[in-house]
Amino acid sequence: MADYKMHILVCGGTGCRASQSDKIVETFKTELEMHGLDDEVKVVATGCFGFCEKGPIVKIIPDNTFYVQAGVVDVKDIVEEHIIKGRPLKRLLYHDPATKSQVTDTAHIDFYKKQVRIALRNCGFINPENIEEYIARDGYAALGSVLEMKPSEATQMVKDSGLRGRGGGGFPTGLKWEITAKEKSDQKYVVCNADEGDPGAFMDRSILEGDPHSVIEAMAICGYCIGAGKGLVYIRAEYPLAINRLKIALNQAREFGLLGNDILGSGFDFDIDIRYGAGAFVCGEETALIHSMEGYRGEPTVKPPFPSVSGYLGKPTNVNNVETFANIPVIFNKGVEWFKSIGTENSRGTKVFALAGKVNNVGLIEVPMGITLREVIFDIGGGIRGGKKFKAVQTGGPSGGCLTEQHLDTPIDYDNLIAVGSMMGSGGMIVMDEDDCMVSIAKFYLEFTLDESCGKCTPCRIGNKRLHEILVKITSGNGIEEDIERLRVLGNVIKETSLCGLGQTSPNPVLSTLDNFYDEYLAHVNDKKCPAGQCKDLVHYEINANACTGCTLCFRNCPVGAISGEKKMPHYIDQSLCIKCGVCFEKCRFKAISIV
């Protein structure tokens, strides 16, 4: 970033691109050209800034001004006011809801204050399509220093750092490398698992979109440590932008001699290929992933043998996830002690979470292990939307569990989350408020598991189907009290007898909601009521004639014409026509409609 006086960074992550951030980049370029400023100001499309709630994000460097919810129409003003006249454009600054003041830079935004960025260190700072920007931020320095060490020394450093697998299991990364390194074989493989399947997690994609070189560098380091000459990235075909940026990055790394034969004159040969996933959650499991890469159905097989011994094409294979790899270069650049100083005793470093659901600040965050759920949800996440009451937070995706108010002060790390009945998982974190029915949430996750079960083992294939049937029965008002016990017994059998991680964890959302929200199950079963008012078969909408002003808003918005009434007179819902979509309830400005 030497020759330019100013840089305009525009978020080019998927979330912001969905709000036309690519057009913002183009418009900036034309606008700057018009003013003859294109030699002095550079526009960069970066990776995800993380603050997706307020996207599209535009950041001006060097003064670090942070603009939120910028649109194509704002570009002209930013250039004329900020770039030319040097005055920040007030209307696009972040508005702090607590202090009611405007904040100009990220250092003073609550969303960023408690974050520590290791895996996401370059996302939102560099142009992911330019290797030189990565190199300028210590990129490939770690590879250079590792190539001067013995493989065993470098592996020991990863081991000492205490880094654990960020894909969900939390297996010590260095140990995995060591096991694979010890195997004797003519060919070994390094596999990067980028088959992010948790519905509600997008950290791996953001890393590949925002900083693909960190993964490439780490894979090469891993290859050197375990004695592999070949790397493979298994990525979802649904991630076109990430695939494209990864391809560009691979080509640039080859041009710079950082992949290929005799890397940096060390005699070490390594190259990386891409393999495409085709939408199967179970392929996040190592053995299933390997079968899929070989062109078969992605069904898991019994371990042992572990991939470290017999993996891709029967050769020793080391599988790590994207976020795990993204941590590796930093460990070598900043040292084992530095890395160990962050986090907790048994969970070192940071974890990236996709914070979503009913919080004010939805986005991608990276926090040190040991931070509490309360800090994440209320300080970083800015609390619950619309002033509603916090009810639960779901971590670990379809394999995890729902935690409640009483767990809010639990420090987040691998072991603590398991102890309270959830898990770290890949990092989905969905916040729920008083309007969410926990039985429905359990059913939602079960539907996902049913879709995604590969069908190979009976407990998962049939057991989950039965679990789901019982939940449907309960949410439709036909449950009996014995059903609740059946859920628990069946859930535990599935956990104990399934073949792979998918089945072994699939009942978790059911079991954890049973533990934490037993009363809600009872209300569905005994009183035939849904306390959150979400289960359609158990609720109906009514208009309170005293509160209704006859404004006709509900009447005009009802999609099925179930509401009738004269202007300025109380309205009425025809229950036989009502489809319980809830539109009238949301639209009513006088709180005249209630869920009964």
């Binding site: 062109g295 159905r297 969410d436």
Partner: protein, 163 residues
């Protein structure tokens, strides 16, 4: 499924794709990706031809096609509508939006309208959770969709079709 005769174009496309992967059995998934990209979907006849070219059983090809949700055996509508059913969208009301699409288009998830204009699918997390609930029509992303927006999205597509 009624038997369709593959056009010469389709036959050649399949053969070319298979050849570009050296007709190797291990490349099956890559072959299917490219064939689907070029032909839009993977009907039984295409699968049979792929099996023949890669020298493997049609059952194996069918097994793979039906295993992965990305592969489809029915043609998509002119406006493929996908509703994100990731958790973040779900808790912000994606199910109500999906119900409204089903009601207005009179089709279920995985189906295409009889005029071939719309198809409906549910997908898992687009990664634009800040915009939840999210609906995608082709490549276009609609964010913060409420059931009341459904009619507008459908009519926008219809207008698009006419022009």
């Amino acid at each position: 499924m009624p038997k369709v005769k593959l056009s010469e174009y389709a036959t050649n496309t399949v053969k070319e794709v298979c050849a570009s992967f050296n007709n190797s059995e291990g490349e099956l998934i890559n072959v299917l990706h490219q064939v689907q990209q070029k032909l839009g979907y993977l009907p039984a006849e295409v699968q049979e031809l792929v099996a023949k070219e890669l020298n493997m059983s049609a059952a194996k090809v069918y097994g793979v096609v039906t295993f992965y949700s990305f592969f489809t055996m029915v043609p998509q509508g002119e406006n493929p509508i996908s509703i994100c059913m990731g958790t973040a969208c779900y808790v912000r009301g994606a199910e109500q939006v999906l119900d409204e699409f089903k009601r207005q288009l009179k089709i279920e998830v995985g189906e295409t309208t009889t005029d071939g204009k719309f198809s409906l699918s549910a997908l898992r997390c687009v990664g634009a959770c800040g915009l939840a609930p999210v609906v995608m029509v082709g490549e276009k992303v609609h964010g913060r969709v409420a059931p009341t927006d459904v009619r507008k999205i459908i009519s926008e597509c219809k207008d698009g079709c006419l022009t």
